[in-house]
Symmetry: D4
């Protein structure tokens, strides 16, 4: 229900084409429905060309199939995150046009080309080889949301020269996602080297006192580099969503 519609409703009341009671009933439900559609439109990325997203973990193959069918019939691009290889194989037999991305544990169904509308490049940096799955989820999501992306992996702080050797790559990015487990120190170092928003993603990599990512999370929240913000442990997808919004400010 647009402002135009609202105006025509009032015109109809004025002209006697719609009774006051009938108009009243329509108005009673209006604001939330209107707001609702507006919100979905701006916020849930239902606009032409933007992907739909399904959080795959804990959903059955049948549930995923049902949602994907509903989405794909609208011609949308679809992204399924947190999907293990076994489930993915079965879904690929139903949607042969889809692709599974092993490292990122994501499945994509691209029904129309992705346009790169962001201002610059989103760079995904990761500390250790074990952080790569989370980094890949971020990289793939950022690309799927219509951003140019690059990555720089295995540049942990215990070998700081590897990071410094790529300082031009850091300087060229518009937004940087830094993925790290264990002590989670990499975002602070990166944040000290650049003048761009840095999104820190703690990973659950580690053992003992890493407590499933808490050590990395706390390290990032306490970063001494201003300009670093943090998302939930292992939340590569959320980091990419935030980066994509930042890339369109």
């Amino acid at each position: 229900m647009t402002p135009d519609y609202l105006k025509s409703l009032l015109d109809d009341v004025r002209d006697g084409n719609t009774a006051v009671d009938a108009a009243l009933e329509q108005l009673r439900q209006l604001p939330f429905q209107d707001l609702g559609f507006a919100q979905v439109d701006h916020h849930r990325q239902l606009r032409q060309g933007m992907p739909e997203v399904i959080f795959g973990e804990g959903k059955t193959i049948a549930q995923i199939e049902r949602i994907m069918t509903a989405m794909s019939t609208k011609g949308s691009n679809v992204l399924v995150t947190r999907l293990d290889a076994d489930k993915a194989q079965k879904i690929l037999t139903i949607f042969p046009a889809a692709s599974y991305h092993d490292e990122a544990r994501c499945l994509t169904l691209e029904q129309k080309p992705i346009e790169h509308s962001g201002k610059g490049t989103i760079l995904v940096v990761s500390a250790g080889t074990s952080d790569i799955p989370v980094a890949s989820e971020a990289l793939l999501t950022a690309g799927f949301l219509g951003n140019r992306v690059e990555h720089l992996y295995d540049v942990g702080v215990a070998g700081i020269h590897r990071l410094l050797a790529r300082s031009e790559m850091l300087a060229a990015a518009s937004v940087i996602i830094v993925v790290a487990g264990m002590e989670g120190a990499l975002p602070s170092v990166v944040g000290g080297l650049v003048n761009k928003p840095v999104i820190a993603v703690p990973t659950s990599i580690g053992y003992g006192a890493s407590f499933g990512g808490i050590a990395a999370l706390l390290g990032m929240l306490n970063s001494c580099a201003a300009g670093v913000t943090v998302v939930n442990i292992d939340n590569g997808f959320g980091a990419a969503c935030a980066a994509s919004l930042m890339n369109r400010v």
Copy 2:
């Protein structure tokens, strides 16, 4: 030391104007010093017109005075955060041109006009009246870093209509900082209403199981609204720094 300087050094070696050993010595220290100055230049806000920042908590008046003197003689604008009223009064007697901002617990010394170079407006939203000190720190910092700012206070989720009534204000911002204590639910609701980066700031407001802001922090990290990133508890300053970078992507 610029690439040009490096080239002229090599030219000198080639032309015999500089001995190999002398050049060797200069090159040995070059990269880090160069990198260092470059970083300070781009990252530590030494550029003309940007403020210098002092974290006031735990510093003595003498220490703050000494740092402020060093900074002010360079003609910089200076921001002192986390400064209580008692210390501030004494510093104002030394720097009468400075101003103290009670609610934000910040002191500013403005020696040259602040230019608004960001792309849009940074909006600071807060949940309860007790969250206002942290929100004020964010608001003041964002303005001091050269951004247009607006604020919207006391719109907690238990009275959701107050927030919804201002949806145009939310839609008009380029970056939104959301400050909330207790259950920390406001960033999720705001994140669901807009299509802009949302920076969530948990506050230590609350009692009992709020655990000094942990409840709010966890709530924000687990936000179901994609696009929300989080900073440390009570870190209004850090949120503003991040927002300022986002406002310049």
Copy 3:
């Protein structure tokens, strides 16, 4: 043992029909037994028509069968909660009159009709699709305890319009159970919209810093909406029991 019985015992002693020693022996065990039965009677729902409840988790099929047999021979209705599908199939072969409720992971044996004796309707609201198992347990239990029930699912705070569009449903309920994982913000929003008791149920849904439901639990305990009370993580059954008592105040 009722007061009447006690009086008749004393009458018998007075009239010489019961010896003092025999009466003494009966009285020695009386108060606790009496209290015991009274408690069981009022509190453990042994009254005609009320269900018996078995917590299925960690019990073997043989144990559940033995308890169900004892209960069903008394003609009681029986509810088994936290029962996985495999165990349920085997129990259904023993009690063919029972039904298994997949989503709620509950089994019910209804031997006499359930009367709806509560004052109003208990409404179960849930935030995300993954919270539905816990919501279903609450819904089924509340109905089995003799309450009219309704539900409203998938109305999380990141899409607040979906909740607002159903405000009449909220207003019509007498007690509301709100089930949510992740940041657990929904009960605060619901509590701000209605004037009824709201029981918040955190779920273990989420990952990383959700810590198996702790984030949601803390969010709910710190709710800024007065009138919200909280039960244990995933405790849909307990929420329904409490709601049922509230519905009979």
Copy 4:
């Protein structure tokens, strides 16, 4: 803005007394304002005769005075919670008609008589003498919200006979608030004795491994007595609000 007002607006449009554009402008802001006032009306206790509440902790005397003045000029009854004795003395000099309740750390300003509209009695039970401040806050609040109240103090589980001796008092209540620190076991015992909603309030009383009320909070969340719900540590006020709503189901 009531439905009546909305209808008369539409009547005016129909009759040509109000131009469509003017009506449009009014309607644009309507739903949220309307919702807002409605919510405030039903939920925020702005109805005639209900008290207004100020959370006193962390507010200055000037702030409290300003809010109280605004409220009292509307003729409302006012309740200030978490107010220490020093501040209270100063406020009493400004509002001589107010009363300070030492044990409950609350101040009340009663401008019109409180009507008892709840269905039954709210009973406040507490475990130790140190829990009495929290219990008193609950007791006073429940009374101020228009409920008949009773209390039963110092009946901790280590002397279980003291509680059992008062079982009639427990049985006569419509809602029971149980306040306990240390191991927080009392709500489970009470919940096993009655057939009424029990609201458990953990207190921060204790030392060492009581961790400021966490031990009691966890004990209550894990209560083996169905029908027990929990509020935040030391939140006597919140328990009373919830009890008051339950007493009106």
Copy 5:
């Protein structure tokens, strides 16, 4: 109310000396009261010669005076624990016969001699000099409860020879209370040297990762020496109560 009394009541009913209704009324309150008095008698140390105990922390001088007066008029010995020196001085002016024990932060009023009725000696061992206040509370309490006591201080595990040199003292005790902060390792070592019940008392001594005694508490709960049981942090009083019961098994 003893069994004898109950029998005589029934005799009176049989003989017509007491009406059934009057007997009924007496019986209605009997069991819990009877149980109550019995419990208090056996459990709460109301027997002739045993001390009464007041937990002093958080009580005002007036409250302590009122309770002490009630107790002392019964001729009981009185123990006040967790009493700071300032309060104690004021109480000593009211009860000049009382004594204050600085290290143990306890006040005692001894109105009749303490009999040593335990089977053997309770030995209190402590690790560091900072643990002595808690150890003193245990020592004084154990003596006041009628046990022979000895102590062995400053025998921490980093100087294990000091403990080993006193192995005869350890062997001679009937129950051993071991008080330790920091890593809380001493109870394990003592438990490995003796064949007697060892009660471990963690203290809040330490800094950083001692977390107010949690490190010591966890160390003691995980003791590899069977026969070690644990009480709350700093709970010297509780350890002495338990030791006193063990000394009378």
Copy 6:
């Protein structure tokens, strides 16, 4: 090496039967060996008739077999705790004289009769049916260590009358082990009813905010009943060892 042996060694030196160097060599190792054997003798229960104990969890069948063989050849009674049924079946084929106790998850090999040398009876009380495995481990261990034992199960605090009805059983015990999960309130109630040492054993039973037994553990450490001591979560064996020592004070 006994004092007698030491004396005879010195006699031999005096009489010239042993060279000083040979004696020196023996003495060099003496004190620790002597201490060692003494400790093992008194503390590790190597005395005639006492069982040897093997912690079965994490040990392979081969390891357990090797240790059992070594022990059984000495004619000792052997107790293996934390042994699952699968491993037990295989060990029973090797040691057909052994018995496996399913509920307690323990295996015993009784090569000589167990003498009951304790002073009184150790009573094991448990709250819920799910706590029975831990209670059984305690019961079996206490019996195996030579104590008379009794048990009282399923007397949780939500049905307090069941416990009160057995108060004579409680009063007759010399030491009471109380096993409880969830809120862990039972030891406080029992401790308030008796005048004997109470050993509280938290169990990992529960879900959500029970945190694997932490809620129960904290509840027990904060018990308001003096005389209660606590062991590690699920440590039925340790409770029985401590109770056995208390039963011999």
Copy 7:
């Protein structure tokens, strides 16, 4: 790129053999690469005769094979840690010259003899038999890094004489690694007996309130013996690396 190489580059520029632009390009990448190699050289043990290390956990057999192939072709010795027996068997079929060490869960490929270049002996001490896997990882790593090693197992603090009997072994070591789970008390006792650096390794051995090694970790961090430093839970490898560096100071 060595200083010599840098000098020869400058010589070439001076002599006209290398153009300035070509030299410039080489220099641009130089410092970090140079630093990099230097760091790797000094820090990552790429020097002749030192092992390469692969953290096996979470890596596939294919990944490990690829890295091992790259390393072994350089003639390096290779150490794979945290490798389970199944994966190891498959790797042994590819690298038949390698050996698998079951207890330590490590695989080694020794292509040239290990030289013992450390100053003294590294002694690995462990508390219980369950701590042996972590101790073995430390022992094997320390030896592989070129240190003389010894071990002393099963000397927990509950049988302190076993440790004391080996005090000469402790005194003879240059660095001591102490591995312990449960209460983690052993490092404090060892630290009190010797005058050498002690590295404490908490293990995840235990149950209940051991919290996967947290109890032991906290115990070690709070050690009352000065000179004790701590590594992460179960990090035998890290302890050995640190010990090896200390053995070369």
Copy 8:
């Protein structure tokens, strides 16, 4: 009591100069006393020239004076740590030869010159200016224990170039103590740059989610740089003791 003494005792027995019973009595106490004195001698730094240490926190001025007097009469050097300025002033009036070190909060009494017996230099590195008190305690202690010391302050990871510019200083040290609060990332970076033992000291500096140093502590325990060991939060003294031992391996 030395081996020589033991031999002469046996000689006396052989020669009849000492009776067997008298020898027996001496031997009975020997091992522990001997061990004890030996341990104290080697371990507790009673050797000529080494300082005695008093932990000042929580001790009264009188207690410190008494211990210092006992120590100083033996001619020892004395170090008092964790001593605030007020207490220090009063102690300086008693011991005018002592010095107070404000930043390190330590007092020293140097009665004989400190010899530098360590092999190399201990370098103390710190991240922020607020970490300097802890760094100073480490620096002063290391010097007092007879080591050459250097320091490098304010080289946090957000300005990594400052650290890299001093890489020669890092390379020249024999042991490095790294002090850092907030995210605690500095030890990992330092550990990656050097080939020496690195002792990490977390500080309680920070706010919000730094949790009094826990974030830094966890970061350090999870360091990805092998060779880093950790001490308790704020434990500069302990780090220096460990470094001093390492400097003498």
